[in-house]
């Protein structure tokens, strides 16, 4: 009983953060309970009544194996995970023609088609980043049906808009007639919900929402990046804070799907000092569970996507959402403090989405950032030569760097052409960050730190 009250309280808290008007519109309703045996928690889409599991399966980080010299998805592992997920109540699967070098949809189709179609919702996207012509876009749309072995999409998204503002949106969806095409498809029932996924500045978001407000396009749902760091620390300049996006969507009663609840896994592996504080509060709960509980605490959230790579995070997530416990106001404040502390670490805000790849000069951009971030959070990071363990830390960093990244793909080979900049959903100044990391490496090698 008490916990149910919490939901109301935190809901009210979120309202205060959002808009006062929120109280009078229907919210995605929480079905299920956090007591007794494990039971998946569902949120109801207020528009069409879909009962969506609060945790969704993101199909962007599936395991890859080497086969005939090529990197391919480990279908067997995917099948096992999908079966387990469905068995435990997960019913929302989010993929894209762009994920995993274009292999994600087919693997999702292979795994999902082994289950009755009404047991799950499929979300996929129009990822026309390259060829934006009408023909290529329509082909991409049709191919998705084939790959996913379905004749309708539950949720269909305009993939990653925001950056470049309305101009980019027009180029990708308006000028080539795709938005009209998709709206017709929606009428025909082949798209049940049409929405977009967003990365960008607040103004850019406002422009897209304006289309909704003035009746041009009705957004059935919206996918945003949200977690306790991005809530108020998304930078504000390059990318909008999640707090703002959430409030704007909730105000309009647009169901929200969350991406990057873990910042590409970075919120599952936080610096030791922060992990310690979390474990002091919840010794038996995983670090990642805090991030998921954060997302689930907000009533406007219909589904939080997790890009699960293997069974371990999947089982942990099912534990988190099977006995879901929203955060209290005090706990929300605690996470805000943790986020502030995290900002003090010199981390790169990379979520390992690999949209920047391939770098035309062969640099392993996400690999370099991931290695750097992991080293910083795990304390394998020398700060001065005076440090007691300097030699050891230096060796650990340099050896692990060479292990993680082949010499030819390391940061010193970045020529700064800037090709990657427009692709990064996080608006990371990639060449600048690579240079910063390379300076650090040079300082280590030359002992000038």
């Amino acid at each position: 009983m008490e916990r149910r009250n919490f939901i109301k309280i935190s809901g009210a808290g979120a309202l205060a953060m959002g808009a006062a008007a929120a109280g009078c519109v229907p919210k995605p309703k929480t079905v299920g309970t956090e007591e007794g045996p494990e039971q998946m928690i569902y949120r109801e889409n207020p528009v069409n009544g879909d009962k969506v599991s609060l945790i969704g399966f993101g199909c962007m980080r599936w395991p890859m194996v080497e086969k005939d010299g090529k990197r391919v998805i480990d279908q067997e592992a995917v099948n096992e995970m999908v079966d387990y997920a469905i068995e435990h109540g997960i019913n929302y699967f989010d993929t894209s023609p762009a994920y995993l070098m274009g292999q994600s949809e087919l693997a999702a189709g292979n795994a999902l088609s082994r289950h009755p179609r009404d047991k799950y919702f499929i979300a996929t996207k129009l990822s026309n980043f390259g060829d934006q012509s009408t023909e290529a876009s329509i082909k991409m749309y049709h191919d998705s049906f084939e790959q996913l072995r379905t004749d309708y999409f539950d949720y269909y998204l305009l993939h990653s808009i925001g950056r470049g503002g309305v101009a980019a949106f027009r180029q990708r969806y308006v000028d080539n007639g795709m938005i009209d095409f998709l709206l017709k498809e929606k009428e025909a029932g082949r798209i049940r919900n049409l929405g977009f996924s967003f990365h960008g500045k607040a103004e850019e978001f406002d422009a897209l929402i304006a289309l909704h407000d003035n009746g041009d396009i009705h957004w059935d749902f919206c996918q945003i990046e949200m977690n306790y760091v991005d809530w108020t620390h998304a930078d504000g300049v390059r990318n909008a804070n999640a707090e703002y996006l959430y409030a704007e969507l909730e105000k309009r009663n647009i169901p929200i799907v969350i991406m990057e609840p873990l910042l590409g896994g970075r919120l599952a592996n936080v610096p030791d000092a922060i992990a310690k504080q979390m474990k002091e509060r919840e010794p038996d709960k995983s670090i990642a569970s805090w991030a998921f509980r954060f997302c689930g605490t907000f009533p406007g959230v219909m589904c939080a996507l997790s890009g699960m790579t293997n069974m371990d995070p999947l089982m942990d997530n099912i534990k988190t959402f099977g006995h879901f416990k929203p955060l209290t106001g005090e706990e929300l404040e605690f996470l805000e403090r943790m986020a502030t502390q995290m900002m003090e670490y010199p981390l790169v805000n990379c979520t390992d989405c690999k949209y920047c790849m391939p770098c035309p000069w062969g640099i392993d951009i996400p690999g370099i950032f991931k290695h750097y971030n992991t080293s910083v959070t795990e304390g394998r990071y020398a700060q001065t030569q005076q440090q007691k363990e300097y030699r050891k830390l230096k060796n650990a960093y340099l050896v692990s760097y060479d292990r993680a990244i082949p010499t030819l793909r390391q940061a010193d080979h970045c020529i700064g052409c800037g090709e990657c900049l427009s692709h990064c959903p996080q608006s990371i100044p990639i060449p600048t960050e690579l240079r910063r990391i390379n300076h650090y490496i040079e300082a280590l090698k030359q002992d000038t730190l």
Binding site: M101, P358, V399, S400, D412, I415
Partner: protein, 503 residues
């Protein structure tokens, strides 16, 4: 007892030097570097008077113990010979060797040739004949790859265990001609040692011949006591130098390497290692043509070994290429650009000085952590190292080759002194530069440790391209290595004859 001491010291020296060649981490050279520095030929080339006098005195005192203890190739041959002797013993053959007269014409002929080569600067011939260089070549080319593969296996295991105790190191064929020479040297030395013990040391090895001039007059040497000798010839049959002639009760001290096998074998106590200063050394027998000791060419086997060696080399290259991941843009391997003057390491005063002193022992090649040094394929400097920057560049903080070189070809320098050495100058080939296509690059300028490269605007195109201030450039190759143009870099380093500015 003497033999035991000799064997123990020999094993220590041999392991030490071999490890010095195998080690790529730089961890051992502080401890073992001196073992390379007391080798005879490097000391001669380094004009290391103390070591030369020390070795000559050692030989005058105790005979050619250098050959039995300090020389790694000598000790290696003893090991090979021992295996065959042990095999023969199992077959009840207790007479593995016999006396053979000195092959003067071959021995001194080779020595004269060697000295001429040394003076004339035909270093390839010097390196081919010198025992220490031969051993270095064999270890670096044939044994170090195996050592690295084992290391890489450990590194893979360490990676799994999240340990940084081992790191993997790329294995690559640095020079095919040198690899083949090393393989042939190994085969020849093994065959000779297996069949006749110290044939190489007493007919070919110029260091052995040089020391033999002194060992004839050694103060301490094995002496036969005719009164006690029963002419059983056991000592003669166990002398791997074939220098004991029991018929005349004489020992050829110019060939005796003081292995003390004879003393251990004699059951009658007729052989003693003792003070014998000033005793007339035995007369040499007449030279007789004896072809049995000459190297025998087993051409079929050699062809097989060379073939196998080539196959191994090929496999190495292929394994490296397989690292490509489908998710990445392909990267072409860099090719060696044309250089008018070869690049030799900082610490060498000039190219000429470097190649005159270098014994081509490959110690610096085995040590170089940046994959810069490799044996030259140029006939003039065959097997002697040169630098190239396809796999890495000469990093500012590294002075490892200079700390090791026993021949003085690379002087010991500090990190700070390194910047004084102007080993080459970068030059730009604008037709290859990506900046000419309007790509904003400047990676060469960004990474130049001496600030010698600047980006200047071309008035016609408005694009920036690199220019080199040759006064600041030191030739480290950072620009060449990090240039995005492949397979040939748009900015390449040409060597300089003189490395130190006369100031």
């Amino acid at each position: 007892m003497l033999k035991k001491i000799r064997v123990a010291l020999a094993v220590v020296f041999w392991l030490g030097i071999t490890l010095l060649f195998l080690d790529f981490t730089g961890a051992l050279h502080g401890w073992l570097g001196w073992m390379a520095k007391v080798q005879f030929l490097p000391a001669v080339l380094a004009l290391n008077v103390a070591v030369i006098i020390g070795l000559v005195l050692l030989t005058l005192l105790f005979g050619r113990v250098y050959c039995s203890v300090i020389c790694p190739l000598g000790v290696f041959q003893d090991g090979v010979a021992h295996l065959n002797v042990a095999r023969k013993r199992r077959k009840k053959d207790r007479k593995p060797y016999g006396y053979s007269p000195e092959m003067k014409w071959l021995r001194y002929g080779v020595w004269v040739l060697f000295v001429i080569a040394l003076i004339a600067g035909v270093q390839a011939l010097v390196a081919l004949l010198a025992p220490y260089s031969a051993w270095g070549r064999i270890v670096q080319n044939l044994f170090q790859p195996v050592y690295l593969w084992v290391n890489n296996l450990f590194a893979a295991l360490a990676e799994r265990a999240d340990s940084y105790a081992f790191y993997s190191k790329e294995v690559w064929l640095r020079s095919l001609p040198t690899f083949i020479v090393a393989a042939v040297t190994l085969v020849v030395v093994v065959v000779l040692a297996w069949k006749n013990g110290r044939t190489y040391c007493n007919t070919i090895c110029p260091v052995g011949t040089t020391l033999s001039f002194f060992s004839r007059f050694a103060m301490f040497r094995p002496v036969i006591d005719k009164a006690k000798c029963k002419d059983c010839k056991m000592c003669e049959h166990n002398c791997k130098a074939a220098c004991i002639d029991i018929a005349d009760h004489k020992i050829d001290y110019s060939r005796c390497v003081d292995c003390f096998n004879c003393i251990d074998t004699c059951k009658f106590g007729a052989l003693k290692y003792r003070y014998a200063w000033g005793k007339v050394h035995p007369k040499q027998s007449e030279v007789t043509a004896d072809s049995s000791a000459a190297p025998q060419n087993d051409s079929g086997r050699r062809a097989f070994l060379t073939g196998a060696a080539l196959a191994v080399g090929g496999a190495t290259l292929k394994a490296q290429e397989k690292k490509m991941d489908g998710g990445f843009a392909a990267i072409l391997d860099k090719e060696v650009p044309e250089r008018d003057v070869p690049i030799t390491p900082p610490g060498s005063e000039s190219v000429r000085d470097f190649y005159r002193r270098c014994t081509a022992c490959q110690l610096c090649v085995a040590e170089c952590p940046n994959n810069v040094l490799r044996p030259s394929t140029d006939l003039k400097h065959l097997m002697q190292p040169e630098m190239s920057y396809e796999r890495g560049y000469c990093r500012p903080e590294c002075t490892r080759c200079s700390e090791l070189c026993p021949a003085g070809a690379i002087r010991k320098i500090t990190k700070e002194e390194k910047t004084q050495y102007h080993i080459g100058t970068a030059r730009v080939n604008r037709t290859l530069c990506v900046a000419e296509e309007g790509v904003e690059c400047g990676n060469c300028a960004r990474h130049c440790p001496s600030g010698a490269i600047q980006m200047v605007e071309d008035e016609a195109t408005g694009f920036k391209h690199p220019v080199v201030n040759e006064a600041l450039c030191i030739g480290c190759g950072a620009c060449e290595n990090l240039c995005p143009s492949r397979p040939i870099s748009a900015i390449t380093v040409n060597g300089r004859h003189q490395h130190l500015n006369e100031e």
